[in-house]
Point group: C2
Chain length 401, copies 2
């Protein structure tokens, strides 16, 4: 007997038929002799519909009241899923975030889980019940309902798996696993049987869109075995864990991320502390900087270039313009016709030729590289947006075939 946490997203419970489908999946696992805790998100477009209702009334509503509003979405889902499981004839209880013991900090709209008081879930599991928990939500110390922000339901599921020392946390989604590349771009893309937390983290932050980073970080921290699986097809998914067999692959995947803007600060005085000043001011505005390149320019000046998300581009330029007198740069430039293409693989740290092989694949196909960034398990290049899909394909062919 294993304790398994299963998480189903909003599209998996979008209508009555899909709720019944999820109930079938859950009860199969239960009938096979397992203890099951299920985490669900709000149905389909419910959250968007609720946000629209709020905007009609007050586009500047407080986050506390938005959390009160939005958390009703998951409450509807858990009740409906519990009813579907009742219909199949298995014992079940639905629990809101606060009933399941989710204590969070007080940052409405993006709260962090402080701890989970698992007593009520444990009691229900001991009574042989399937426990259906509302994802995305908790309670702060003032007894206000909070929501966990983006990727919140994945995080709820992993947090429960960690708190209950579950044997596995299965994340059901509309893809059946993690692929070596986006199958829509690269027809040779292969589904991975296994991947490490670190690789998954790089893939998630590079735009693979399967699991949210917060949930993978938490899974790594508490050593929760994750599995990404399809809600609709009954096939094995991809397991995310600490150490995996490297098989024959040098790299685990190729991704591209088009949500990237490149900012250049040209002709900076070559004095110490300039780079520090730029990035500390951006950090104050909560702007994450990704790839960074510093180069010595003409006449003793230097240039600094870096990337931010497109959403942050205007704010970044505003901050830098405000610093013109202090930094004494010549000019700013910015472009958003670029894409970041990356390869990820825990194996590359021991295989020095990996980056060169990637660059060669691009060179052979006349794709210019604008910037390069590397970590121990990742190489990213900035290239023209129009070449992005082609780049994914040629790199994938070169490494994985």
């Amino acid at each position: 007997m294993a304790l398994i946490v299963q998480k189903f997203g909003g599209s998996s419970v979008a209508d009555a038929a899909k709720v019944m489908n999820v109930a079938e999946r859950v009860t199969e696992t239960y009938k096979a002799g397992n203890q099951v805790v299920v985490v669900v998100s709000a149905q389909g477009d419910t959250t968007d519909d609720l946000i629209e209702k709020a905007n009609e009334i007050n586009p500047n509503a407080s986050k506390r009241e938005l959390d009160m509003l939005l958390s009703s979405g998951e409450q509807i889902s858990i009740a409906l899923l519990a009813m579907a499981i009742e219909r199949i004839g298995c014992p079940v209880i639905s629990l809101t975030g606060w009933q399941a013991g989710f204590n969070t900090n007080s940052v409405s709209g993006g709260a962090r889980i402080k701890n989970i008081d698992t007593e009520r879930m444990r009691r229900a599991i001991d009574k042989k019940r399937i426990v259906v928990v509302a994802g995305f939500q908790g309670l702060n110390k003032y007894d206000d309902i909070t929501t966990l922000g983006r990727g919140g339901s994945d995080t709820s599921a992993v947090a429960i798996a960690a708190a209950l020392h579950a044997d596995k946390c299965e994340i059901y989604t509309d893809v059946d696993g993690v692929y070596t590349a986006d199958p829509r771009i690269c027809e040779n893309a292969k589904k991975l049987d296994e991947i490490t937390y670190d690789e998954m983290l790089e893939l998630a932050s590079l735009g693979a869109n399967v699991l949210h980073n917060r949930s993978v970080e938490m899974a790594k921290k508490y050593n929760v075995k994750l599995e990404v699986r399809s809600s609709f097809e009954k096939v094995p998914g991809t397991i995310v864990k600490e150490v995996v067999n490297m098989e024959k692959m040098l790299i685990r995947g190729v991704t591209r991320d088009n949500d990237v803007a490149r900012i250049g600060v040209i002709g900076l005085q070559h004095t110490p502390g300039v780079a520090f000043r730029i990035f500390s001011e951006l950090a104050k505005e909560h702007i994450n900087v990704d790839m960074i390149l510093q180069s010595v320019g003409r006449g003793g000046t230097k240039d600094i270039a870096f990337t931010v998300t497109r959403e942050n581009e205007p704010k970044t330029l505003e901050v830098l313009e405000g610093l013109k007198d202090v930094l004494k740069y010549e000019k700013l430039d910015h472009r958003d016709d670029l894409s970041k293409v990356s390869i990820v693989g825990a194996g590359m740290v021991n295989n020095p030729g990996v980056a060169a092989k990637m660059f060669e694949a691009l060179y052979d196909n006349n794709i210019n590289i604008h910037m390069i960034a590397t970590s121990e398990i990742k190489v990213s290049v900035l290239i023209k947006l129009e070449n992005a899909e082609k780049a994914v394909r040629v790199i994938h062919d070169r490494f994985i075939g």
Copy 2:
């Protein structure tokens, strides 16, 4: 400075514009220097829509899960109303039933309020906040969300008014007060300035449909001053309290109730305990019996006739058929082409001619009476359905004019 509890039903908050209208009403009261607690129901058809969603998945869902589902409706309303009040610029906080301290018994779907822990509401009021509370819901001792059943939001409002010792509890609805008769039937119907709890109870149970009985009973028990007012028009409503000026009216109102079925048990043995047996068996099935008539028939047998709601008619006949061998009656009859027309007034106890005056009005208009029931403040007659509206008019003309 007064503490005022205001309750708005689902039709008053059905869309964004109506929510803003309610926010205006609430903040006007607040800006006039009062402390305000607002109770709201789920928006418009939300509850029906949620029930439909549940039925699609499981028509036999447990009441516990139905309560989990339905309580989300009020949670949406309180958040939206709080956002609307924020937009007007007044300090506000929304509270679910459990956050507001509603402790109920464990009868899911029709829970009774055991007590209200008012600490959190008090704290919010002390911070000069308008407090918006979800009606219709509470929490049982197992920390499960419960709903209060029919008329639940009215009851929530009165319970808060009682617990906070509020100066007044205003029930906003789509009519602007309590009338001497249904204005759609009787064009001379007058709005009452005041009415006693007991009169209101009789009117509510007789089909006046303005306030639910449970809320009036609770208001009477805790001496909460109620006012029935219009959500849309700013005119004084009808005040419900313990003692009112009798003015010149002998009666307070004329009502009719078409939801009535008459059951006859014909040719019963004239042995003791027969009536007791009938009504105790019906009580076991939770069937409320209203008017009762017992008469001695031919040959030492007797007949018993009584009324039930139409919904309960088939079940009632089933119970009686099951008792045929025990009761040894000749036959059952039943008809549902009848209506109950009633006059209500605390003054009639001191005016013996009231019933006679009512019967005379009916006689003068050739309307036959099938059954009569009286209490200290009420006279009801059962007449043919087709005569019901005419009866209301002629009785109203005779007493009120």
